[in-house]
Symmetry: C2
Subunit: 322 residues, 2 copies
């Protein structure tokens, strides 16, 4: 009897599709769609995508899909690829505005190909998103809304920096729009692709949203304390530009760039100030609370290997050091 239950349990925990196979399918779709007839678009896209990146958004989508019984990896891979390309497009454009020279351990597209081609590569990644999504009529509104939210969040951030109005409230609104909305879309699309009922769709959307908020908070913390080489992107940009968690918790005036002081001096100064207090710990606690909530939301799923992976992904968000 006990043996029988154990066997059933093992069976129910098995995910019919190998997760690595699912992740690889997304990779293949991404590399294929950016195979432009124009050399520089293809090369620059492969450059930024080939550098790796965490792939957390498409992984989240695929795991939600698999955990809710989805088995057709080829069907779910294009929307997952679209989510990652949307994120990548915003990263390429972000590096233009921030003058970021290092991204994912490689020169940014901006640094390697110059501004004009970086702008067009970002646009191309965007039109690739649109192409990938064109057969998925019912999902298009979900991703279109998230894409708009992302751009709105980036704009609010730039405006807050410019106007020196980077309050805690502004920060909360910005990370919800620029990061959590796309995570939410990944969770919702994964669930809808699996034809899940509304209870599960709502749970996965909300869990993904919370993971997205936590992810951005941790990203901002790492931007302060992380080692540049380990992060693989130009560190301290967020601080130099007076945005991110730091500026949301510090008073804006104390972050102002002193005339004559280099960006590095400013960053060092801010870091020292931050490490004096307990502000980073507050942010870490907030991120942990969000992940705890997400894990509870994921908890309503039937047991499976994909569910376990989903929980592991959520935990990784707060345990990562890059």
């Amino acid at each position: 009897m006990t043996t029988q239950i154990a066997q059933q349990d093992a069976l129910s925990r098995e995910t019919p599709v190998n997760i690595d196979v699912a992740v690889q399918a997304v990779e293949d779709v991404m590399m294929e769609i950016v195979n432009s007839r124009v050399d520089v678009l293809r090369d620059a896209s492969h450059h930024i995508l080939g550098a790796g990146g965490k792939r957390i958004r498409p992984r989240l989508l695929m795991l939600c899909y698999l955990a809710l019984g989805g088995t057709d990896v080829k069907f779910a891979a294009p929307p997952a690829a679209a989510v990652e390309l949307m994120h990548t497009a915003s990263v390429v454009h972000d590096d233009i505005n921030d003058h970021g020279v290092l991204r994912r351990g490689r020169p940014s597209v901006n640094a390697k190909w110059g501004r004009t081609f970086a702008l067009l590569t970002g646009d191309f990644l965007f039109t690739s998103v649109y192409q990938l999504m064109s057969p998925y009529s019912e999902l298009n509104k979900i991703l279109a809304d998230a894409a708009t939210a992302l751009v709105e969040g980036e704009t609010l951030q730039a405006a807050a920096v410019k106007n020196n109005e980077f309050t805690r409230e502004a920060y909360a609104r910005i990370i919800a729009l620029k990061t959590a909305a796309l995570f939410r879309a990944a969770g919702e699309m994964g669930a809808r692709l699996a034809d899940a009922n509304e209870k599960f769709v709502e749970a996965m959307s909300s869990a993904a949203y919370n993971i997205g908020l936590a992810f951005q908070i941790v990203d901002d913390i790492l931007d302060i304390v992380g080692d540049e080489e380990q992060l693989g992107k130009t560190s301290g940009i967020d601080i130099a530009q007076g945005r991110g968690f730091v500026s949301a918790t510090e008073s804006a005036s104390s972050l102002e760039v002193q005339n004559g002081a280099s960006a590095d001096d400013v960053i060092d100064n801010v870091k020292r100030k931050l490490l004096e207090g307990n502000r980073l710990e507050e942010a870490r606690a907030q991120a942990k609370g969000l992940i705890d909530m997400a894990v509870r939301q994921i908890g309503i799923l039937p047991e499976s290997a994909a569910k376990d992976e989903l929980i592991a992904l959520a935990q990784m968000v707060i345990n990562r050091d890059h």
Copy 2:
């Protein structure tokens, strides 16, 4: 008997929907979708859209729709608005790369809001396209392909200028991708929205494509001979950047910017060279040939006021002086 025929003829030439009403519906959709919750995106979008522009692409779509029996203006207006917003997004990004300061008789978004916000406004117009199109599952591939072609054409152009390889062949490929593809999409979508049969869809796609090619050739001619004030955008940019019709017909070396010479000097010099020969006349003849072909293709449509307007639109492309 004669009177009866005349009456029938008058009836058949009537278009059930007023064309001005259709054009206004597109305007309303555009202004509504760019009503972002983020001030700068809303203001910058209204700024560039409110400056007018010829609206030739959405007008083309609506006229194809009406000429093929379409009557539901509210149904056809969002894809028409999406086509115009896609064009506008590329214009806003183009003005970043070209440092264009005047557009449609107003300061460019780049000049008024700076590069960061111009880049994000272009991105936002793009996500607005995606939002508008999300309910039109069968049309999404058409516009997604055209959007990708547009970005590819802009990139080929930038690469040709950079590598000093602006041949006639390159020019032909560039204008097909960056301009004619989106015109073609407008024609095809207009026809498909009207549920036209494939013969008409093909004719309208092809006519729109030819109109697009002619439009770009004339645009490049006007960039040489046009008066800046009349054009309402920074004239001579295309020449200063060594692209467009001029550089496609001149040998590349004769267009090289001399060290120390100002952009204005270069443009003046190129203009003088061009007006000496008959090269502009060749280009004008080519544009006229394309419009003649488009008019013949439009000729297969049943008689209607919309058909007459479509022919007038095609003729306007070669007769315009701005």
